[in-house]
Symmetry: C2
C-alpha cells in the first residue's frame, strides 16, 4: 500500500470512477447481503467501503477488522445507486469498491464511545484518553476552528500594520495580581525565573523601543486555584499595544478585528450593536448590577427609591438606603417554587430578601402589592416608562412580575444583577446567535481592598489617570478615574485595557497614594521606570481572553474543550501524569527541595 | 495634537501638498540658515521637518528638542527642490513644513548610539537597554522579517492542510536529552511540571487522535549550559508531524515549504541544489567529516590509504589505520603562520599532526613532499581526478595545497572536517547568497555512549528501525539503521526528524537492547505506550530550528539578535533582572527551598 498515493476521503468526489488509496480508522463495519461494509474515517470525514467476497484477499482481511483498527484501502470511487444514497452524511452519495484492504494497526476496544458529543462521559476519563476523545467530530471541529480563528486574527492585525513579536517565557514577576509559576535557575542558583502572567511590561518596553503597533497570541501562566470556568495554568490572549493611542483608535482596532474574524467561526451570528456601545462603569452597575453586563436582553435595574421611600407604610422600603426593582414584562407562569428559588439566590448574594409583585391585567397583585398601594399607580407608571425605554419587544405590563431589593445601593445592584441573569436563563432570553459587546469605561483608579481595608489599585497600576498627573491632587483618591476599560461580551469580560502611564513621575505619584515610595517603584518595575527616562511615547493597548472569546463565539460551554490537551478541573494533565514527582537527581542539580509527597495508603 | 489623525512617515509620499500629523523620535536636529531641521523617526522610517522662525510657537518648541525626545508635528508635505534632494535616504525627496511642533516626552541622553549596526557595543549594555537598542534599523528589520517569515510558514503549511495545534507549556519530562526546566506545583505539593523541551509526545498523540497533519511554531525550553551559538533557555521550532508518512512526503513537505518561504526574507538567495540531495550518514562523514556538511563548496575529503600505506618509507602513513587528504586547488599564498595555525586546529581536534604538501606548477613541493616521492605521480593523479569530480570551478592542480591526517578513520574525518571549514573561511568560499541544503539519512539506531561506554540511543528512541521489528534481531546492534534524518544547511543542522515507531512491541524491543524492560517504557512514556494500544496510525515528522534557519537566511551571525528580548550569553534577562531571588513568601506557599544566594560583599 503506497502512502504516497493516499488521498483524504473529502477528495473522493473529484475522483469518481478512479482508483484511489485511502487510509484511516474503521468507524464501523457490518455484513449485509454477503458484502462487507466498512465506514472508513479520516481527518476529513467518512466514506463507505464495499468489499465483495469475490476479492478474496481483500474480503479475508476485511473480516478481521474491528472498530478503531487502522486500515488502508485501494479501490474505485463509485456513485451509489439512487435508492442507496444516504442524505444524512457528507459523502453518502459515494462509496469505494475495494480491490485491496490492509490491516495497518490494531486497536483494543476503546474506553468510551466517540460518536456523540461526549458530554455525558466522565471528563477525567475523556482526558486520560484525550487522543481517543480527539477523534470525536465535536473536538475535531473545535481544533480546526481554533486554528482558523487565530490565523484570521493574525492576518487582520498584520494587515492593519501591527507587528507580531514573541516575548520571553522566562521572565520576572509582573503585577497582574495572580500567583506566579516559579522556575528555579540551575545556572544562577538561588534565583528563579517566573512564567509570564502576561507580556504587560514587555509590550510597554516594545513601545519604548519604537515598535509602533504590537500584537501577540500570548501564553499567560497564572497559578490560580481551580475554577470551573477557567483553564488551569496557562491560557492565551490576543495581546496588543500601540503608540500615540486614542480611545477611538484602541476601540476601533478591536471592533474592526472582531467584525472581521467572528465570521470565520460563527458566520450565522449578529452583532446586537456595532460599533459597540460605551457605558461608564458606575452606570453599568446601576443599570445591570455588574461591570460585565449581558446586553442581549433588557431587564435593566430601576431605582424607585424616590417613589417608594417614606411614601408607604412598608418598613423594609422606608428603612433602606435605596430600593431597586427589576421589571419583567414577560408572559410566564411563575410557580411559588421558582419565586422562592429566586429569593434564595438573592439571599446567597447577601440580600435580606427579595420582594416581588405580579402584574395581571395590568394591575399589581400578590407578593408585597398590598404594602405599596399608596404609590401603586405612580409605580406602575414608572415601570411602564422604564420598559418602554429598555425593552425591545414588549412595552406593556399587562402581565409580568417585578422583583425588589431594598438595601445599600451597591448591594441592591449586585443582587439584582444576579437575579437579572437568572431571569434571562429562566425566560430563555440569551439568544445564542446574538453578540452583545459593550465597552465599560471610567473605572475608579483606586478602591478599598476588601481584605485589608486599605487603599489599593482598582486595576492595573500602569494606567493613566483621567486628567493626567494633576488628578492625583484629588482629596479623595476614590474619585480618581482611570483611563482603563473592559469589553463585556454576553455577560463575560473578554478584554481589558488602558491608556498607559508613560511618565515616571506620574507612576511614582500613583504608587505614593497607596503607600509605596519611589524606591519600591524602581525596585519592582526597574526596567519600565528606567525606560520611561529615555523618550517613551504615549501608549495604550488591551488584551482579549482568546479562549473565552472563542468558546462564546462557537457556543462551547466547556472551556477545557477549546484546548487540544487541557488540564483537568483540578489542574492536572491526567493523560501525561503531570505534575509528577521529579527525580531527586534533578532537584539536587538545581539545589532545591520540594515537600515530600505522602505515598497513597 | 490629535493622534487620531497621525500617519506614519512612510505614508507621506501619498500626501504631498496636504497637512499631516506625525509623531515619533527626534533622530537628529540642526540649525541651518536660521531654519531648524529635525529628522523625525518612526517605526516606518524618517523624514525631514523644516521649522521656520516665522512660526513662532513651533520654532520655540523645536529649539527645546533634543535627540530621542518624542515629538509631534503638524505640517504640510512638500517635494524638496531638486538640488536639496537627498538620494541616500528613503524619503530624501520630501520634507514637512511644520506649522505646529509639540514636545511629547523628554529623554535623557541615550547610553549608546543607535545609528550603526551596534555590533561594536558591549552586548550586555545593549541588552540592559534593549528598548533603546530596538530603535536601531538592523533590529527593527529583524523584528519585521521574523514576523513575515513566520506568517509565511503558517500560511504555507495551512494551505497544505496542516493543522496548527497549540500543545501544553506545563507538562512532563520528554526524552530530548537536555535538562528540563522544573515548575513546582502549588496545588499538588511535592510534584512539579516541566516546560516542554519539544512537543514530541503530544504531536505523536495528536496522530493517535486522528489529526492528519499537524504543525506548530513551538517554544522549546531546555536548561542547557550557555554556548555562544545557542539562545539560552527557550528557542522556537517549526514542529510538524503527519500520519501515513513516506520519506518522500516528509522531505517534499520541507522542500516545498522552504522553497516558498525563503523568498520572504532572502529574495536574492539561490538554492545550490533543489530538491535537496540525500546523503547517507556514513557517506557524509567520509566526504565532509561531519553529518552537517556545508555544501556550498567542494573540498571533499579523499581517502588515500590504499595509495600511500606501505608504499613509501613515511612511518606516519604506514602506521595509521587510514590516511585522508583534503585537496585545495585554489590559488592562495599560504604563509607559514597560517599553515601552523591550521595544524594547531587539527591538534585541538585530537590529531597528532597535520601534514601538507604544496603544489607549484603542477608539482608537489614543501611539507612532506619528499617522503611521498615513490607515489607522487599516482597521488597527483588521484588528486586531479578527485577535484575534477568535486570542484565546480577548478579542475587543475597547477597551484594549491593538500592537507593530510593519518589516524583512525573517524578521527581523520572529524579533524579534516574542521580543517575543511577553516579552509572555506580563509578562502572565502562560504557564498552568503547560496543555500546548500542536504538530507542526511541512515543514522545508526544505537551508538556507544562516550561517557558510559554503554550502548545508547543514537537519536530519538521513538524512531522506527529500517526493516521494522525484525531489525532488532541483528546480532550487532550498532548495525541497526534508524529511519531518522537531519537536514544540513550551510554547515548547520536545521532539522531533525524520523518515521516514528508506532508499534508498542517494537518500542519495547528498542528499549530492551539498551537494558530497559517493558515497565520502564510504561512508566516513562505511559501515555504513548497506552495510546499505541488504541489504533495509532503510522506517522512521522520533523522539527526545524526556526531561529537558526532564520538567522542563516538573513545572514545574521548573532543568534541573540533574532529575538526581541533575548537572554544574555550567560542566560540572564539583564533588562528585567531575571532570574531574581524570589520572595520568601512565594517559596513558602510552594513549600520549596532554594539555595541561599551569597550577597555581593
Amino acid at each position: 500500500m503506497d502512502f504516497n498515493k493516499r488521498i483524504l476521503t473529502e477528495e473522493t468526489p473529484n475522483r469518481v470512477g478512479e482508483e484511489v488509496v485511502l487510509a484511516g480508522w474503521v468507524d464501523s463495519i457490518r455484513d449485509h447481503g454477503g458484502l462487507t461494509f466498512i465506514d472508513l474515517r479520516d481527518w476529513s470525514g467518512k466514506i463507505q467501503i464495499v468489499v465483495d467476497p469475490d476479492k478474496e484477499d481483500a474480503f479475508r482481511v476485511a473480516k478481521t477488522l474491528r472498530n478503531e483498527y487502522v486500515a488502508g484501502i485501494v479501490g474505485t470511487v463509485r456513485e451509489r445507486a439512487k435508492d442507496l444514497v444516504n442524505d444524512k452524511v457528507e459523502l453518502g452519495h459515494l462509496e469505494i469498491v475495494a480491490t485491496e484492504v490492509s490491516l495497518i494497526n490494531r486497536s483494543k476496544p476503546i474506553p468510551f464511545p466517540i460518536d456523540g458529543d461526549g458530554r455525558e462521559i466522565d471528563e477525567n476519563v475523556r482526558l486520560k484518553y484525550r487522543y481517543i476523545d480527539l477523534r470525536r467530530d465535536r473536538l475535531k471541529r473545535i481544533i480546526r476552528q481554533r486554528q482558523d480563528f487565530i490565523l484570521a486574527i493574525r492576518k487582520h492585525l498584520i494587515s492593519k500594520k501591527f507587528t507580531e513579536v514573541i516575548t520571553p517565557l522566562l521572565t520576572v514577576t509582573s503585577p497582574e495580581g495572580a500567583r506566579d509559576f516559579i522556575v528555579p535557575s540551575r545556572i544562577h542558583k538561588g534565583k528563579a525565573f517566573v512564567l509570564p502572567q502576561a507580556p504587560q511590561q514587555y509590550k510597554q518596553l516594545l513601545m519604548a523601543g519604537g515598535v509602533d503597533k504590537y500584537f501577540q497570541i500570548a501564553p499567560c501562566a497564572r497559578d490560580e486555584d481551580p475554577r470551573a470556568d477557567r483553564h488551569a495554568g496557562v491560557f492565551y490572549q490576543i495581546d496588543l499595544e500601540m503608540s500615540f493611542p486614542t480611545i477611538d483608535k484602541l476601540f476601533g482596532t478591536c471592533e474592526t478585528l472582531l467584525e472581521d474574524v467572528y465570521k470565520v467561526v460563527a458566520p450565522s451570528k449578529k452583532f446586537k450593536e456595532y460599533p459597540f456601545p460605551r457605558i461608564p462603569y458606575r452606570e453599568a452597575l446601576d443599570r445591570f448590577g455588574t461591570d460585565k453586563p449581558d446586553l442581549r436582553y433588557g431587564l435593566e435595574l430601576l431605582d424607585i427609591t424616590e417613589i417608594v421611600k417614606d411614601h408607604t407604610e412598608f418598613g423594609v422600603f422606608n428603612q433602606a438606603e435605596s430600593v431597586k426593582a427589576i421589571v419583567v414584562p414577560h408572559q410566564y407562569e411563575w410557580t411559588r417554587k421558582e419565586i422562592d428559588s429566586m429569593e434564595e439566590l438573592a439571599k446567597k448574594e447577601g440580600a435580606k430578601g427579595l420582594a416581588y409583585i405580579k402584574y395581571e391585567n395590568g394591575k399589581p397583585t400578590g407578593g408585597i402589592s398590598k404594602f405599596i398601594s399608596p404609590v401603586e399607580d405612580k409605580l406602575t407608571d414608572a415601570f411602564r416608562k422604564h420598559i418602554e425605554k429598555v425593552e425591545e419587544t414588549e412595552t406593556d405590563l399587562q402581565a409580568g412580575i417585578v422583583f425588589f431589593v431594598a438595601d445599600k445601593p451597591e448591594k441592591a445592584n449586585k443582587v439584582l444583577g444576579k437575579v437579572r441573569i437568572r431571569l434571562a436563563e429562566v425566560l430563555e432570553l440569551q439568544d445564542p446567535n446574538l453578540m452583545a459587546f459593550a465597552w465599560i469605561q471610567e473605572f475608579p483608579f483606586y478602591e478599598i481592598n476588601e481584605d485589608t481595608g486599605r487603599l489599593d489599585f482598582g486595576h492595573n497600576p500602569f494606567s493613566m489617570p483621567v486628567g493626567g498627573v494633576e488628578a492625583f491632587d484629588a482629596e479623595d483618591p476614590l474619585t480618581i478615574i482611570s483611563d482603563q476599560y473592559d469589553l463585556a461580551f454576553n455577560g463575560y469580560e473578554v478584554l481589558s485595557g488602558s491608556i498607559r502611564n508613560h511618565d515616571p513621575e506620574v507612576l511614582v505619584r500613583a504608587f505614593e497614594r497607596v503607600g509605596y515610595d519611589r524606591d519600591v517603584v524602581k525596585q519592582k518595575f526597574g526596567a519600565l521606570y528606567t525606560a520611561f527616562q529615555y523618550g517613551v511615547p504615549p501608549h495604550g493597548g488591551w488584551a482579549i481572553g482568546l479562549d473565552r472569546l472563542f468558546m462564546e463565539l462557537i457556543n462551547e460551554p466547556n472551556i477545557r474543550d477549546v484546548y487540544a490537551f487541557p488540564k483537568s478541573s483540578n489542574g492536572m494533565d491526567i493523560m501525561m501524569g503531570a505534575p509528577s514527582v521529579p527525580d531527586e537527581e534533578d532537584l539536587k542539580v538545581l539545589g532545591i527541595t520540594l515537600p515530600k509527597v505522602k505515598p497513597k495508603n
